[in-house]
Structures are given as structure tokens and as C-alpha cells.
């Protein structure tokens, strides 16, 4: 993968060549001319993080959750990995013990929120449709907009079901205490290498649909090895939301967040 860039002295080079470590990257900490051509106009130094506004709102969300004594888990996965089914099974098991609120992110429709209705949780749906096909993630302002619709003071735990996507949700802090992924064995072993940012951002990977192990050529050891390459600290839990296998362990993990 060639990664050309230009240093202050005008030299251009490519980081694709292995062993090209001789130059000093500390130089990137100073603002030089990286534009590649000279201009006659004035230059203004900015040095402002592009996610700064999101992260400030995330901090405000986090403070509000903390003040209400609520713990928050951001649940992410690809579409169809089984987040909603896992949540339904989770609500069934936590009913009467843990007061749960759900923030449900979906590009369109209330289908997922409807599936979770009647299982004892307070649900706030966020449709991310914006006229351009919909946002592919929840960001901190979207989650903030859902907070008035949840009785935070009466809840112990908020589960955020993010938009199904292995790329964008990983980039946005929404004010959660922990991130967990649902990963279905139907997705194959190599995804940690293809989506390292997502896998690195999660403390727990819930490997779902293990009831299908006898029918698929899924290489669990290979998957664990790939996960270890990008996130050696990740905890792995094997579950089947359909049969209920392993769900108690996941619920115990959630209960442990509350203490």
C-alpha cells in the first residue's frame, strides 16, 4: 500500500516499502507545507481535531449517564449478526433484575425496535435517515437526542444497538462505558484483519450463531488468532442467541458492568 506524502523540505516518499524507517516522523508534529504546491495566500494554523465536536457531546452524554447512575454498553456488528435477537434474549433474562433502556439505531424502519417491544425495556428509536441514504452509524449528538425519551433515573443499564456496520460506528464515541461486538460465525474468520479498527475498539467480542458450527467450515482457532493480531486484550464469548447457549455468560458480563 503506497502512502505518499510530502515533508516540509519538499521531499516526497512512499511508505509502502518495507524498511523505510530512516526519516523522522516527529516532524509531523510541526505544521509544514503538506499541500504539495506553493500558494501566494496566507496560511492559518488550525490544528483542530475533526471529531472534537462529537467527542465533546460524547463527554456530555457520559456525564449525564454517570449522574443518573446508568451504565452504557455500545453494541456493534455487521447487519444480520444477531444483535436484535441477542438483545431480546438478554431482556428476557434480565427482566425483574436489571432495569434496561435501549437506544435503537436504524437507518430506516422501526422493525428492530418493534421486535424488542414488550420485553420490559424502555426503547428509544433513532432513525438515521438523512435524505442521502442514511447515516451508517450513531454519533454522540444522535444519542443525545434520544436521552430525553429514556427515564435515565429509573434505569440501571442502557444498551445502544448501533447501526449494523463494521466500519463507521467504530469511529464515533457516543458516551458509552464499554463497547461490545456481536460477530456471527457466518462472517468468516478473516474479518478482524479487514476491520481492525472495529475489533480493536471493543473489549468483548460475542461470537454468535455457534449452533451453526457443525454445518459451517468456520475455523474458530483461526478467528481467535486473527482477533489476537489486532486486539490481544479482547475477551471472547461463544453464544447462540437462537438456542440460548452462552447467553447467561453474556448477561453476567453485563451485570458485572453495573458494579
Amino acid at each position: 500500500m503506497g502512502r505518499f506524502h510530502r515533508h516540509k523540505d519538499g521531499t516526497v516518499h512512499d511508505h509502502g516499502d518495507a524498511g523505510d524507517h530512516a526519516h523522522n516522523h516527529e516532524a509531523h508534529d510541526t505544521v509544514g507545507d503538506h499541500s504539495g504546491y506553493a500558494t501566494g495566500g496566507e496560511r492559518i494554523e488550525v490544528l483542530e481535531r475533526i471529531f472534537d465536536e462529537n467527542d465533546k457531546t460524547a463527554a456530555a452524554n457520559r456525564a449525564q449517564f454517570a449522574a443518573a447512575g446508568v451504565r452504557v454498553v455500545n453494541l456493534m456488528s455487521s447487519p444480520g449478526a444477531g444483535k436484535t435477537t441477542l438483545l431480546r434474549e438478554t431482556l428476557t433474562r434480565l427482566a425483574g433484575q436489571v432495569r434496561v433502556g435501549i437506544i435503537e439505531g436504524d437507518i430506516e424502519t422501526s422493525l428492530d425496535a418493534d421486535k424488542l417491544a414488550g420485553f420490559g425495556a424502555e426503547i428509544a428509536l433513532i432513525n438515521t435517515g438523512n435524505g442521502f441514504g442514511g447515516e451508517c452509524h450513531l454519533d454522540a449528538p444522535m444519542v443525545r437526542s434520544a436521552l430525553p425519551r429514556l427515564p435515565l433515573g429509573d434505569l440501571d443499564l442502557v444498551l445502544i444497538e448501533n447501526v449494523g456496520n463494521l466500519v463507521c460506528p467504530a469511529e464515533f464515541d457516543v458516551g458509552e462505558d464499554a463497547r461490545a461486538m456481536v460477530y456471527a460465525i457466518t462472517e468468516g474468520e478473516e474479518k478482524p484483519l479487514k476491520y481492525p479498527v472495529m475489533f480493536r475498539s471493543c473489549g468483548l467480542v460475542v461470537v454468535n450463531k455457534v449452533d451453526l458450527l457443525p454445518y459451517l467450515g468456520f475455523d474458530m482457532a483461526g478467528f481467535r488468532d486473527n482477533l489476537r493480531k489486532v486486539n490481544p486484550a479482547a475477551e471472547v464469548m461463544l453464544v447462540s442467541a437462537r438456542t440460548g447457549e452462552g447467553i447467561d455468560g453474556w448477561c453476567d458480563w453485563l451485570r458485572a458492568r453495573l458494579s
Partner: protein, 118 residues
């Protein structure tokens, strides 16, 4: 995929710093671990900036490779195109990312003869 909303954030920051002056180039520093597609960002910027005072400006991206530093032996390793966050020297996994997560606007280049209008 999320480049459109990112362009909205960029527009807010640039508008504030430009303070009414005409912007020619927006210099963005972006780490390899940021999942933003440079071409898509440039394209989305045209959409987002059209019909605004920022129309005609363009985004210039400086890519920063991902590197980790081993906490055991202090060796610095390139993460590489197929990402492996293990030390290239000792093979250890206890490492911190030292570059590749940057995502910021470093500077703006203004149109000539516009500086006095601020």
C-alpha cells in the same frame, strides 16, 4: 460511508477559522487507522461545500502510516496493509499505537488578496 457527516464537521471548523476569508485549501492530516476514504472525502466535500462560502475550496490529505511501539522492547513497527499489531522485533502484543489515529485539520490556505477583508 460516514464521509458526508465528517465533511459537515470540517465545514464548521473551517468556517470558524476562516472568519469570512476565502479558503483555497484545507490541509487535513489523517492516520491510516482512520477509516475514511480519501477520494470519498474529497468528493463529499464538493457536495457539502457547494453553494456555501466554502465552495471552490479543496481538501488536501496528508496520510500518516500506522505504527506501534512495543512496551516490552520499545521497538517501533509498521502495522502494515494487513494489520498485525504485534512487535516486529520480539513478537509481543503489548504495544501502543504511536501514529495512525490522527484526524485533524492542520491549516487553511487562503486566497490571495483576501487577507485584509477579515
Amino acid at each position: 460511508m460516514h464521509e458526508l457527516s465528517i465533511c459537515g464537521s470540517i465545514a464548521d471548523i473551517v468556517t470558524r477559522h476562516a472568519a469570512g476569508r476565502r479558503v483555497k485549501v484545507i490541509n487535513v492530516r489523517m492516520g491510516q487507522l482512520r477509516q475514511v476514504v480519501p477520494d470519498t472525502l474529497v468528493y463529499c466535500w464538493e457536495l457539502v461545500s457547494a453553494d456555501t462560502p466554502l465552495a471552490g475550496s479543496r481538501i488536501s490529505i496528508e496520510a500518516v502510516p500506522a505504527r506501534i511501539k512495543c512496551r516490552t522492547c520499545a521497538h517501533v513497527t509498521d502495522v502494515g496493509a494487513v494489520p498485525v499489531f504485534a512487535c516486529g522485533a520480539c513478537g509481543g502484543f503489548d504495544a501502543e499505537v504511536v501514529s495512525g489515529e490522527e484526524f485533524l485539520i492542520t491549516s487553511l490556505e487562503l486566497e490571495e488578496n483576501e487577507g485584509a477583508s477579515a
